[in-house]
């Protein structure tokens, strides 16, 4: 855990960039081995994302929940915890937004939408807070509890949708009248499903940064994350900080859920399996070196690759699953920084003979 923290908390920017390039390279090699044309595949990928306003808008839609779940995982990480449960927190956030959106539909929308969003964030936060509380009071590892809470969230959400919100004859809730869609952008982006969640995600990243590095509470949280013993010695309440950090982490994830149901689908499905936002969030957080702005960039990359992968199969007949190899390699190279540094070594040596890598 500590080692992980050290690897992913470094502030060097060259290494991730090179890691990304190397990831693309590995993907290209795999494509060559498989008899595909990597140049055609990658150009099809980017053409898909940047080719039309609609696709660009949809790619942004793809990135949005990744930004928030990435921030959720990164925030917990900075406070010394591994939040594997962003997925469950997203689901709880979705469900809370759906309940408020449907059951309080009588309210005017300028009240209803914020209320639904707040409910999503709050419930996501409380859900994560359970894991924080168990860690603070009972010393139970948050990795285990958050994974368990993922399953509880999944089936609890399905139960609620089936029992209280079901659209008769369908495997989903009624339509939600509350909407976060940015309808004024419809003509510009050809009706791509853009929504306010993107703005919320960007604001969350700024909040993350300011809170953690500029405020008193953030100082405490970082101290607890880096050295809980010293934090306790210095009179900080370690347990309270653990709960608070998990809560804030869960709020980010919950907001991602609100964006999905209020901005994209406008209903909530009965999930057959875990939707996976939270797990992608882990990858995004690591890719972004757990820095809020890094996470945003990582989500953009991750979203681009994921969304563009469909283009690869249409445009170049390359199976879209190949993009997972690229993403996996990038994360691998970021984690195994030694390899990247080894590749970079000749460049460093040329620049500075004295410097010891």
């Amino acid at each position: 855990m500590h080692k992980l923290k050290k690897i992913f908390a470094t502030d060097s920017y060259i290494v991730p960039l090179v890691a990304i390039l190397m990831g693309f390279l590995v993907g290209a090699i795999v494509m060559l081995v498989g008899g595909y044309d990597p140049v055609a595949a990658y150009s099809a990928l980017f053409k898909r994302v940047f080719g039309s306003p609609y696709d660009f808008g949809e790619a942004v839609r793809e990135m949005t929940p990744l930004m928030l779940t990435g921030l959720a995982v990164a925030f917990a990480f900075r406070s010394g915890m591994f939040n594997i449960g962003a997925d469950g927190q997203v689901i709880i956030g979705m469900t809370a937004a759906t309940i408020v959106g449907i059951k309080l539909a009588a309210l005017p929308s300028f009240l209803l939408v914020p209320l639904a969003v707040i409910a999503a964030g709050l419930c996501g936060g409380l859900w994560a807070g359970i894991a924080g509380y168990l860690k603070a009071k009972r010393g139970i590892n948050e990795v285990i509890t958050t994974i368990m809470l993922n399953w509880i969230a999944l089936f609890l959400a399905n139960f609620i949708v089936r029992t209280f919100l079901l659209l008769p004859g369908q495997n989903r809730s009624e339509d939600i009248p509350a909407s976060m869609s940015m309808t004024f952008l419809n003509s510009m982006f050809d009706n791509a499903r853009l929504h306010w969640g993107t703005a919320i995600a960007l604001a969350a990243a700024v909040f993350f940064y300011v809170y953690l590095w500029k405020t008193k509470q953030g100082y405490e949280m970082r101290a607890v994350g880096l050295n809980p013993h010293a934090a306790e010695y210095a009179g900080m309440n370690v347990g309270r900080n653990v709960v608070k950090a998990m809560f804030i982490s869960g709020v980010f994830a919950g907001l991602a859920g609100a964006g999905e149901v209020l901005g994209v689908f406008h209903f909530q499905s009965v999930f057959a399996a875990s939707p996976g936002y939270g797990f992608d969030g882990i990858a995004v957080a690591l890719l972004g070196l757990t820095h809020p702005f890094g996470v945003i960039l990582a989500a953009i990359l991750y979203g681009t690759l994921t969304y563009g992968s469909a283009g690869m199969s249409f445009g170049a007949d390359v199976p879209p699953e190949l993009i997972r190899i690229v993403i996996g390699s990038i994360i691998f190279f970021i984690a195994a920084q030694g390899i990247v540094r080894w590749v970079l070594k000749p460049f460093y040596l040329k620049r500075k003979k004295e410097k010891v890598l």
Binding site: T215, A223, L226, N227, A230, Y233, A234, G235, N237
Partner: protein
């Protein structure tokens, strides 16, 4: 001994790092069968030099000869091939593995596809007997004591056929008894024909065990002398570059009213063992009370109880008449209690915070550092800059991580922070552990200055010399009780030693 042939010769070794010359044309000769001490302050360049010998660094200039032949040691494997072994200060052992598994790690004897642990264990047992190490080859590392773990490190080098052993600060982590045993082992090793380089800044050990001493200061060799022809004062002076007084200079104390009072304090560990057992004493304003005792007799728990990090089951702890037992650490800090913790890495610092951030570790939430929930970076930095200057904390800048500072400077940073809070009570737990002579002098002077300013100082130390030199009054702790209270001028090492071992009680409220 001087007739013996050199086994390692370093010639004019120079190593530069960006902005610093770590080793400046260092020459050193290790003769067969000698213990050669390498003495120098923290950061003098001892470790760099040894890392060069062990192949971790390459020298920029100079050459190395082993057994009279010039060699290039470009990695540790090469060093091992040449018969050079290093016993690191921080052990490099796999905790859940057994002693044998650790020793053979990387060069396991094979039998078909399997590792032949049986013959490995047998070889380990033989080595252990030969050098009188008494290591059980089948014990797990996390079950054996620190002293034993160090012997495993020694065995690792012997197993790999080392004839030249480098010991890097080997006694820093050992108890006095383990140190004596280590000395015996080292003597045995040279008797068996090994040669030893001993890196240390403890003069006592050098005088006790080494044949010759090479003193390094700021990357340069100051002198190489025969141990029999020198004395600690001369060595210290050469190491620090100025005269060092071992006798601490201080006037008689002006003792005031009691500040901290413990009455019948008891506390149990998690498994129900009484770690504090009806412990009573008081510290008055303007005096230094030294708590002497062998490690593990309740010192850590005592500090935790006073500072709020441990709950007590019965008894009372008062600060200037106010009960503080079982209050939170923050409440106690706010009653003007400062605490230099015994483990500076675990408790004293957040190593990945900057020096500046560490300087407000206990005060960040107060004005002027915190205004309306936001931290004022300028004010925090200014505060850090002032402390760094005032207490001579050597750091490239206040924006560097605390991790990058040397041990002595980390300790100075903590002391600066704690003293700057202007405490009524200053608790100093093992404040000089692992520091070199110059830094020790600085720390002890600070404690005495605080006492002269009328503060109550509680000093907990395992170093008897420190207790005797610095304290105005000594309380001896044994099995969670104060078993004696004496004045340093009325006692001696023997008497204190007996009390620390629990076989003598004297004065004070012993056994209350």
């Amino acid at each position: 001994m001087s007739a013996a042939a050199p086994v390692v010769e370093l010639k004019q070794i120079t190593k530069r790092f960006p902005g610093i010359v770590a080793n400046d044309s260092i020459s050193l000769t290790l003769k067969k069968g000698e213990i050669h001490a390498l003495l120098g302050e923290n950061g003098a360049g001892k470790s760099t030099l040894m890392n060069i010998v062990f192949g971790l660094y390459q020298p920029d200039e100079g050459s190395i000869e082993v057994d009279g032949k010039p060699v290039i040691i470009d990695n540790p494997n090469k060093a091992i091939e040449l018969g050079i072994g290093m016993v690191h200060q921080h052990f490099k052992l796999v905790e859940p593995f057994t002693v044998t598994e650790n020793i053979v790690l990387g060069m396991e004897p094979k039998k078909g596809l399997k590792i032949d642990y049986k013959s490995a264990a047998e070889k380990v047992r033989k080595l252990s007997e030969q050098y009188g190490l008494q290591v059980n080859p089948n014990a797990k590392i996390h079950d054996i004591s620190v002293g034993m773990q160090q012997r495993v490190e020694i065995m690792k080098t012997l197993y790999r056929g080392a004839d030249i052993l480098i010991f890097d600060e080997p006694t820093a982590v050992l108890t006095p008894q383990e140190i004596t045993e280590l000395m015996a082992i080292m003597k045995r090793l040279v008797a068996e024909g090994k040669s030893i380089i001993l890196i240390t800044h403890k003069l006592k050990e050098i005088m006790h065990i080494s044949d010759r001493v090479t003193i390094i200061r700021r990357g340069k060799v100051i002198d190489t002398v025969n141990t029999s022809e020198t004395n600690p004062n001369e060595l210290a002076e050469k190491m620090v570059g100025r005269g060092v007084t071992f006798k601490v200079d201080k006037q008689a104390p002006h003792v005031g009213a009691p500040v901290l009072k413990l009455n019948n304090v008891s506390s149990k560990s998690k498994d129900g063992v009484a770690v504090l057992n009806g412990l009573s004493f008081e510290v008055k304003a303007g005096e230094i009370l030294g708590i002497a005792g062998v490690d593990g007799n309740g010192q850590s728990e005592l500090i935790q109880a006073i500072t709020g990090l441990r709950k007590i089951d019965s008894g009372s702890i008062t600060m200037s008449g106010q009960e503080i037992a079982n209050l939170s650490p923050r409440k106690i800090t706010e009653m003007n209690v400062s605490h230099i913790p015994e483990d500076r890495h675990k408790h004293g610092l957040v190593l990945d915070f900057t020096v500046s951030e560490n300087m407000v570790l206990e005060t960040y939430y107060k004005r002027p550092y915190n205004q309306n929930g936001f931290l004022k970076k300028d004010i925090i930095n200014e505060h850090a800059r002032r402390l760094v200057e005032q207490f001579d904390v050597r750091t490239p800048s206040i924006e560097n991580n605390a991790r990058s500072l040397s041990g002595g400077n980390q300790q100075k940073a903590i002391i600066a922070r704690e003293i700057d809070k202007n405490p009524t009570l200053l608790i100093a737990a093992q404040p000089t552990r692992g520091l070199d002579v110059g830094a020790i002098e600085f720390v002890q002077k600070q404690l005495i200055e605080q006492r002269n300013l009328g503060k109550a100082v509680l000093l907990i130390s395992f170093e008897l010399d420190e207790i005797m030199n610095v304290s105005d009054r000594i309380a001896v702790i044994y099995e969670g009780q104060i078993v004696g209270e004496v004045f340093p001028q009325d006692t001696n090492d023997q008497e204190l030693g007996l009390m620390m071992a629990g076989s003598l009680k004297r004065g004070g409220n012993a056994g209350a």
